[in-house]
């Protein structure tokens, strides 16, 4: 019985070791039904929040290139390293990766000239 339990435990550990380290812990995307990105690559920024949100670095993630068409999608990613850091520092340091793409400008349509 003990041996079976030990084997199951070992298998679970093996599974976690095999699957988890290379993966993100979570990845979530915010987008719209009209998503039509102008960019073919994500722009990235690591955002860190210190002292339970008292200080953010950067204060806000600002894109200066998207212009009036705004964002097409935003992706927030955390991973096991970020999570460990969060736990070990008792929440003092909280890191996420933010990625985004700009939305295309609407097309110019017409008959001219």
């Amino acid at each position: 019985m003990k041996k079976t339990k030990l084997a199951s435990f070992g298998f679970c550990i093996l599974l976690i070791v095999y699957c988890v380290p290379l993966q993100s812990c979570s990845k979530y995307t915010v987008t719209t039904t009209q998503k039509d990105p102008a960019d073919i690559y994500y722009k990235k920024k690591i955002a860190v929040s210190y002292f339970w949100g008292i200080v953010n670095k950067p204060r806000s993630v600002i894109d200066t290139a998207c212009g009036k068409t705004g964002l097409s999608e935003v992706k927030i990613t955390s991973n096991i390293g970020y999570s460990l850091l969060h736990v070990v520092t008792l929440g003092v340091v909280h890191v996420v990766k933010v990625e985004w793409k700009c939305q295309k400008e609407p097309p110019v349509i017409g008959f001219q000239p």
């Binding site: 095999y18 993966q23 993100s24 073919i40 295309k104 110019v108 349509i109 001219q112």
Partner: protein
């Protein structure tokens, strides 16, 4: 007033939407239209900017490849030198009666639309709907650009409509710093000199060059504009339900619907016919999607999507791939669960083309291979695949879509009716084992097939020759005839050299 411009991003490593490889490149450039409100005047400014870009590439001996939605799984649309992102080039010119040849038929407003290369399928769906028109067909999603869509021969499953290149009737190609051409078929001329003068291009009417350029993955020059033929806005009446293989398989083999009383509209040939197969469920594992084309009306029930439903996360594919590599015994469970959540039954839904083939939210490391096979070989191939999936614990589903033969010279839907046999899965060792075994068995069984250019394949020069025979010579001759000799290396990439799609080497 801002002019058209091209900006270097200094991105040196590029991946696809599906993240299945990373390609080192010299640079990625973004190209922007200027803000000239006149559709074609602005378009022509961009033509000049692209010509200047090609002059720079020629001087610096850099190969160039235009990039659309970056949707493909293969390096067919990549080069190690200069990549040019075209997504912002989305002007759409409506045609006037004096621009269209009378021989094309009675002028119909917006039957012909001239779209700049980066216009996405989503944009075209939206714009055309506002004009009371629709694309004839597209892929299952809408993230591709029009030039990218046709360049790989993207297909849907509109049986008697064909693939996306088949509704293209003209191409504006920039083939060098001093040469840009508008090509169309001599056997079906479409535009008059009035239109040609407006874009300032050389006019070429040649069936062989045109049909060759349709599916050419960016190797026939920079596709700047595409003249497409549209349909009046229509509705699709959509049904999907799981069925037994016993009733579905005869249809997959013949596309003869005259004896199909079990379909929602008994014995009627549908506009769209698709079968998705769960290889681990031989009872009711055939998910049949049929769509019937109807005249547009305003009072149809709209499709409502539940965005709050739980679904797979972005890392699900790679994680499930690893888990099933480790514990292959759970593969049938994973596949059955995935197919049940992703292929829900649809009963009598209605939507326009753009509403039915809408934005996909699927992400992550998905792998897909697709082969064109003659429709009469469909079940033979599916049986081989079914056996191999069990042998290799393939964590995926099979899909069969059907289209009539394409006009494109090296279009992969080359059979009178082609079944596009598609095998989608996660990034996993089992997936690669299955793909390799399947390709080998098809070779051993001497079943003729082609590969979707934009999906995972094992193409090399001898395979391409075997698949396209004399058509390949016609394609090569057309390319050499169209493109100035000094520009051939500019439009040649590593994939083309590897697969024998060049007569001589480029800069690679």
């Amino acid at each position: 007033m801002a002019s058209a411009r091209i900006q270097a991003t200094n991105i040196k490593l590029l991946s696809t939407v599906h993240e299945n490889f990373k390609q080192p490149i010299d640079n990625l450039f973004n190209i922007f239209n200027g803000d000239n409100p006149n559709v074609l005047a602005g378009y022509n400014e961009t033509t000049t900017a692209i010509q200047q870009f090609l002059a720079d590439a020629l001087q610096k001996k850099k190969s160039v490849r235009a990039l659309g939605g970056n949707w493909s799984w293969t390096k067919v649309g990549f080069t190690k030198d200069w990549m040019l992102s075209t997504t912002r080039l989305n002007r759409i010119k409506r045609t006037l009666p004096e621009e269209i040849e009378p021989s094309f038929g009675n002028f119909e407003s917006d039957k012909l639309v001239f779209a700049q290369c980066g216009s996405s399928i989503q944009e075209l769906n939206t714009v055309l709907r506002s004009l009371g028109r629709s694309l004839k067909t597209s892929g299952a999603s809408n993230g591709q650009t029009i030039a990218g869509l046709i360049s790989n021969g993207t297909h849907g499953s509109a049986i008697d409509t064909g693939s996306s290149p088949d509704y293209v009737v003209g191409l504006h190609l920039i083939v060098g710093p001093n040469k840009h051409v508008y090509i169309e078929r001599a056997s079906k001329p479409v535009v008059t000199n009035v239109f040609i003068q407006k874009i300032g291009a050389e006019h070429i009417r040649d069936d062989s060059i045109f049909n060759s350029a349709l599916v050419s993955f960016g190797s026939f020059g920079f596709i700047h504009g595409v003249m497409i033929e549209t349909d009046p806005l229509y509705l699709l009446n959509v049904f999907r339900k799981p069925m037994s293989g016993d009733v579905v398989r005869p249809l997959m083999q013949t596309l003869d619907f005259t004896n199909a009383p079990f379909l929602p509209r008994p014995n009627i040939r549908p506009f769209h016919f698709q079968v998705t197969i769960n290889p681990y469920d031989t009872q009711k594992g055939y998910y049949v999607t049929v769509m019937y084309k109807e005249k547009y009306r305003e009072d149809y029930p709209r499709i409502v999507t539940d965005f709050n439903k739980a679904g797979p996360g972005e890392d699900a594919p790679i994680l499930l791939g690893r888990i099933t590599d480790l514990v292959p015994q759970i593969t049938p469970l994973i596949v059955s669960t995935t197919i049940k959540s992703g292929y829900n039954e649809i009963d009598n839904a209605w939507g326009t083309h753009g509403e039915v083939f809408t934005t996909t939210m699927l992400r992550g490391k998905i792998l897909s291979t697709a082969m064109g096979i003659a429709v009469e070989n469909t079940n033979k191939v599916m049986d081989i695949a079914s056996r191999l999936s069990k042998e290799h614990s393939f964590v995926g589903v099979f899909s069969c879509r059907f289209v009539k033969q394409t006009f494109a010279t090296v279009g992969f839907t080359k059979f009178p009716f082609t079944c596009i046999a598609e095998f989608d899965s996660f990034e996993a060792q089992s997936t690669w084992r299955f793909f390799n075994a399947l390709w080998k068995e098809l070779d051993d069984a001497a079943i003729p097939y082609t590969f979707h250019w934009g999906k995972i394949n094992n193409l090399d020069a001898s395979r391409v020759r075997k698949m396209y025979g004399n058509k390949l010579d016609e394609w090569l001759a057309a390319r050499n005839k169209l493109i100035p000799k000094e520009m051939l290396p500019i439009f040649t990439n590593e994939f083309m050299v590897q697969t024998g799609l060049v007569n001589g080497l480029g800069f690679v």
